[in-house]
């Protein structure tokens, strides 16, 4: 396994081996394969000419819609990672909590007809419920499960986050049952817009626009308010910020509340789009949103938004664009594979993401 120091092979051979080790060869093979696959698939699809322009437009639109939700959830990951260097694995489940809260407000509102008559007020109430419940649960989670680990290195916080994720999911299953609950569908959301032969469902448009608006508000909070600035300072260097008189504990609570509220909004939108609420709904979107956060550069707020949108887009367009072209049957079955692959590629090849600085090493 190891040679004594005197038995070193010739310099040239060693240098060659170091520069082009088996590992980097393997990694280059991976890169090459992925690029080849994407290019071949794209060319194949273009040659097949199976989809119309309108259909491509739809792939993009639906991708952006789900991407806007990933982006909102990704924000929570990114902010928490920034201040605590912790992957809050339960964040997807916090989104689920918001969706449930929204459901228990939306259903009576719809049944009483209020939501039909006053869409704006009704939506505001539903969103508020989602925000508050998710925010409160996020803060409680921090208090109970994460605070004791603030100074702990290693796996403990991440494993605890796993525990929280299970606990939240199973608690909601126990409380509200494992059946899929159906979100109300007020009549006004069935509107469709038509333009130049393309049709846009009103809900999708509403979700994208509102999501972007809420994210803009969050961006302003982070950039302009005292608390937001304190948060960025803690992200940058927690100890220095503490020395400058920033109350780190308060900042962390604020971060969780903000991220939780954002996830709550995402949960309500998610439920409005897909009309389903159940206890396990947050897990997969949560992981994907984390992928989005990594993609954009974890720790960076604009990065998370960008990454979320990008992930949604690739997931929606990818199977048709890349996989269809190389003749894979039932490509949408492999949709999650595309999302996970993208996430792993970023983690392996560019852990700092599109916009982020290199944070991956700070914790390790």
């Amino acid at each position: 396994m190891s040679a004594g120091p005197l038995a070193i092979p010739s310099v040239a051979a060693r240098r060659g081996a170091a520069r082009m080790s088996a590992v980097s060869l393997a990694l280059w093979t991976v890169r090459f394969l992925v690029v080849a696959l994407v290019v071949a698939g794209t060319i194949g699809t273009i040659l097949k000419d199976r989809y119309t322009t309108a259909q491509w437009f739809e792939f993009v639109l639906f991708g952006l819609t789900i991407g806007s939700l990933y982006a909102q959830v990704a924000l929570g990951y990114t902010m928490v990672y920034g201040v605590l260097r912790l992957i809050n694995f339960a964040h997807g489940d916090i989104m689920m909590c918001g969706a449930f809260a929204g459901y228990f407000v939306a259903t009576p509102l719809e049944n009483s007809g209020f939501l039909e008559v006053h869409p704006v007020l009704g939506m505001a109430a539903i969103l508020a419920a989602g925000m508050v419940v998710s925010g409160v649960i996020a803060v409680l989670t921090e208090r109970i499960a994460y605070r004791p680990f603030r100074r702990v290195q290693g796996f403990a916080p991440l494993i605890c986050a796993f525990g929280v994720s299970f606990f939240l999911e199973q608690t909601f299953r126990g409380l509200f049952g494992s059946s899929v609950k159906s979100y109300p569908a007020p009549k006004w959301e069935g509107v469709e817009f038509h333009w130049a032969g393309l049709s846009v469902p009103g809900v999708d448009l509403l979700v994208i626009v509102l999501a972007v608006a809420f994210m803009a508000v969050l961006y302003l909070i982070v950039q302009k308010t005292r608390m937001g600035m304190a948060m960025r300072a803690v992200s940058e260097d927690g100890e220095a910020a503490a020395l400058m008189g920033v109350d780190v504990g308060k900042v962390i609570v604020f971060t969780f509340a903000l991220g939780g509220a954002m996830a709550g909004i995402a949960g309500v939108f998610y439920a409005f789009l897909f009309k389903q609420v159940y206890f396990y709904m947050g897990f997969t979107p949560g992981i994907k949103a984390f992928g989005g956060a990594v993609l954009g550069g974890i720790g960076s707020v604009p990065g998370a938004m960008l990454g979320g949108f990008f992930l949604g887009l690739v997931e929606s367009v990818g199977p048709s664009l890349f996989l269809d072209g190389i003749g894979i049957k039932a490509p949408y079955e492999l949709r999650d594979v595309i999302a996970y692959t993208l996430m792993i590629l970023v983690l392996v090849f560019r852990p700092q993401g599109i916009l982020g600085e290199h944070m991956a090493k700070k914790r390790a």
Binding site: M1, S2, G4, P5, I8, V11, R14, R15, A18, R19
Partner: protein, 278 residues
């Protein structure tokens, strides 16, 4: 290349983003010497270490060790070539015992395969016994006999420093890089550490490259001193030579070379002996 020099850095440069931590450094360490690197905070001293051991790959420049070029190798190959180091903020394997830390250091010199360990072959057993005996000797040498079964994190500060040096020695290096071995020590402990370092050189017959802040240590035991400032070498020579160098005084006091003699004298005395007050 001179026959006597063990390590040679040529035009070594390292940039972080746009900032140069190290610019065109030429460094030559003579075989058997104690060679110190000094300089104000942020002068790029630890970066030199990282670029030698390849924890950081240099942006440009070359590093030669004995007759081999070692930049571009992975750190474990650098260790195999015969360079070992300690860290400014002690980096022991905290969750294993002291003696196991030493055994990890012997990794390169225990010749056994994992399947040999699984099967319990006589060869493996022999190797383990040999490594064990060697570790015990080393433990004795670093004055930790009887404390070997304590977890590294439970050792006292000075013991941790010595254990880290012991671990580095366990790799049987030709060149030992010590990054501020006396940091955080009182004068008494510092003296003991100095004696210990001398003993290391004598007993193991190795070359030592030292980063140090305490001038008493540097001036008291170095054969040669290199002074860095802002990532560049500003002076090099024997301790007395360096002590008198105006550029060095300027770097330490931030005064122009045309400064009054009094200030220069003050600086020289500071560099020379002031540290002994600590």
């Amino acid at each position: 290349m001179a026959e006597a020099s063990l390590l040679l850095c040529r035009r070594l440069t390292r940039r972080f983003g746009g900032i140069a931590a190290l610019t065109d450094l030429d460094l030559e360490v003579a075989s058997g010497a104690i060679h110190s690197i000094i300089g104000p905070n942020g002068a790029g001293k630890t970066t030199v270490f990282n670029c030698i051991t390849q924890n950081l790959s240099p942006t440009s420049g070359e590093v030669w060790f004995r007759s081999d070029r070692i930049d571009g190798l992975t750190p474990d190959r650098v260790a195999a070539a015969g360079i070992s180091r300690t860290y400014q903020n002690i980096r022991l394997f905290r969750n294993i015992t002291a003696i196991e830390n030493l055994l990890v250091g012997m990794h390169l010199h225990v010749h056994s395969h994992w399947w040999g360990a699984v099967l319990g072959t006589p060869h493996t057993k022999r190797e383990e016994a040999r490594a064990h005996a060697e570790a015990l000797k080393l433990l004795h040498f670093i004055d930790l006999a009887g404390r070997g079964d304590l977890l590294a994190r439970n050792l006292a500060y000075g013991e941790q420093r010595r254990l880290e040096i012991g671990r580095a020695l366990a790799t049987r290096p030709k060149l030992l890089l010590l990054d501020e071995p006396t940091a955080g020590m009182n004068p008494h402990e510092t003296s003991r550490m100095m004696a210990f370092i001398q003993r290391v050189r004598a007993e193991f017959d190795i070359t030592i490259l030292l980063i140090e802040h305490q001038m008493r240590v540097v001036m008291g035991m170095s054969d040669r001193v290199t002074v860095l400032d802002h990532g560049a070498k500003i002076a090099e020579g024997t301790p007395p030579e360096v002590q008198g160098d105006p550029a060095v005084i300027e770097a330490y006091l931030g005064v122009k070379s045309a400064a009054p003699t009094a200030a220069r004298d003050h600086a020289a005395s500071l560099l020379g002996a002031a540290a002994s007050e600590r």
